[in-house]
Symmetry: C2
Subunit: 385 residues, 2 copies
Amino acid sequence: MRQVAILGIGQIKVDEHWELSLRELGGNAAFAAMQDAGMDKVDALYVGNMLSPMVSGQNQLGTFLSDWIGLWDQESVKVEAACASGAAALRAGLMAVSAGEIDSALIVGVEKMTDKAGHDVTAALATAADADYEVEQGISFVGINALVMRRYMHEYGWKHEDFAPFSINAHANATHNPFARLHEKITVEKFEKSSMVATPINLLDASPTGDGAAAAIIVPAERVASLPGKPKITVAGSASATDSIAVHSRRDPLFLSAAYLSSKKAYEMANAGPQDIDIFELHDAFSIMSALSLEASGFAERGQGVKLGLEDQINPRGRVPICTRGGLKARGHPVGATGMYQIVEVVQQLRGECDKTQVDGARIGMAQNIGGSGATILTHILRAE
Amino acid sequence: MRQVAILGIGQIKVDEHWELSLRELGGNAAFAAMQDAGMDKVDALYVGNMLSPMVSGQNQLGTFLSDWIGLWDQESVKVEAACASGAAALRAGLMAVSAGEIDSALIVGVEKMTDKAGHDVTAALATAADADYEVEQGISFVGINALVMRRYMHEYGWKHEDFAPFSINAHANATHNPFARLHEKITVEKFEKSSMVATPINLLDASPTGDGAAAAIIVPAERVASLPGKPKITVAGSASATDSIAVHSRRDPLFLSAAYLSSKKAYEMANAGPQDIDIFELHDAFSIMSALSLEASGFAERGQGVKLGLEDQINPRGRVPICTRGGLKARGHPVGATGMYQIVEVVQQLRGECDKTQVDGARIGMAQNIGGSGATILTHILRAE
């Protein structure tokens, strides 16, 4: 299996882009990545997207985007794993480059969620859950996560405000990221007074949706030399694992088994462990998911994930810096694009391009992208060489 | 790149399966393939599906199906390329096995199209076309193909009845396939008198939709020995190519450029040419597509694809046997599953399991799966060894 390097990255600001169509969103991120890599041609395109058939009436998004970008003739395909679609598209591209089938791939995560009159985005997001056994009961996707958070608080005795540090850190970091949707610092008081969405999840526990796109170009590692001031960044670990779709079918609804399995495999591939990870871009769609992700990936004991926040260890100068560019909470969560935003942000950290939220001496970064309420989880470890 | 073999196949009858849910459809084909391969465990699952988010309110179909099948923990993902989703899922699995990342993969193409009150399947199918520049004008997917057929008849001087042999052959072959949706022979007279759908496409030019699922298990070729009476079947060629999504953007709307490119590459990989192909399972969603596919893949001159039918060369004893199990026209076209039905049928031919439609001495078979009106085209060549 050939080792793969990330040669270029691109992203657009997560926002309500009423002026940009689905193809323009994806195209703009793709062009930025191609410019960053200094390439105007690639062998194949892999697109991560979740909602376009429902929200934009558009399927076949691989070919749709390659047509717009001008990559006519090239292999193009869409990969979907709910909110983990971005990382799943990256992994599909990794396999093809690793196999030696192609020598370069463009990966684009893209999602258009606003400015689509007549489409119910909440209903579309619920397709990530089990249609027959969860959604049929009338529960929304936030509702499922609210049940998990309530159970966690009950089992381990945490109060709602104990989750505040996750959101406060994300909002603080996002103020230094021009691509983030929200640029507003918050406090514990504001966190506690925020409007309720689905008890106990309030507006500041939940990530905002938005239109967005992020992209990367991957090539065989042997084709890339380290340039002065721009380290060679390789994919040291990549793994995907799954759990049951419905939360009620899991042996333990408070343990992200697929996060445990995929991070374990990624650690083995990278010959590393949690102690070696300098930054961890995790999937904080809801504050509870930050805690569960930290626990399943080996950064905290069961039920103790929130403690890392309370002990001030999750900021860019802490022991386990997370959401260094704002995370899903404040950078925003354009669902199918999120996995690629995480990859782009880890690369920015490893390149030392993060200004006030730069983690000093960052050499190894991890990104974890979650589809559904823990059903599909991909973990990638990147290394600067 | 490791060579890959197809170890097991499974399928269910294409039909209106009101008694089977989406998970049961996919599961039944998957179990059949696992039984055929003699395996109860695989390393990963790749699912091809186009419509489930819109028609069944279900996304994340990889994990959804692995959960049902009992492949908990394993990597699972959905791949979508409109009606080419089935072959695109196979190709994703091929890349992962080729890369050495996994040692076995289950590929399932599945589609639930009937028994879904309140969902407009015609509108859902139109997501394969360009939403902004084609569908916005009010044209349906059949309408787009009708424009192409009308232009072809005008340019090359063919009459509507000249396309009859494609449908007659497909219907005749399907009478010997228990998994086919239609089991009714037709004649030129019946073909010409059939109800109009979108001039000049009538009901017997068009393939019927339906519920269906087909599956295969792939493994590294070196792990499989030839067994007596059951040849080792390897994937000798696999390629994907694209064209613009909208037909009006193509340099020549009557030439399937992506079929030309993907078959060319697959021929090169297999060290073969059209003259070596013993059976060709092509994508006859509409009769016009049979002609265009034969031409672009090197079996007929431009504008002369219909002649192969008129000269009686497309039946199982002809020079270019196509749709030997009924094709999309009579086996049925459960869109995201179709590409895997084609693969299963080529394997059946290479194993000599096709009874009255068996092509004598078949050693090399080709399957071509088309997404949209020619936008994404995958060609696979299988060889019996």
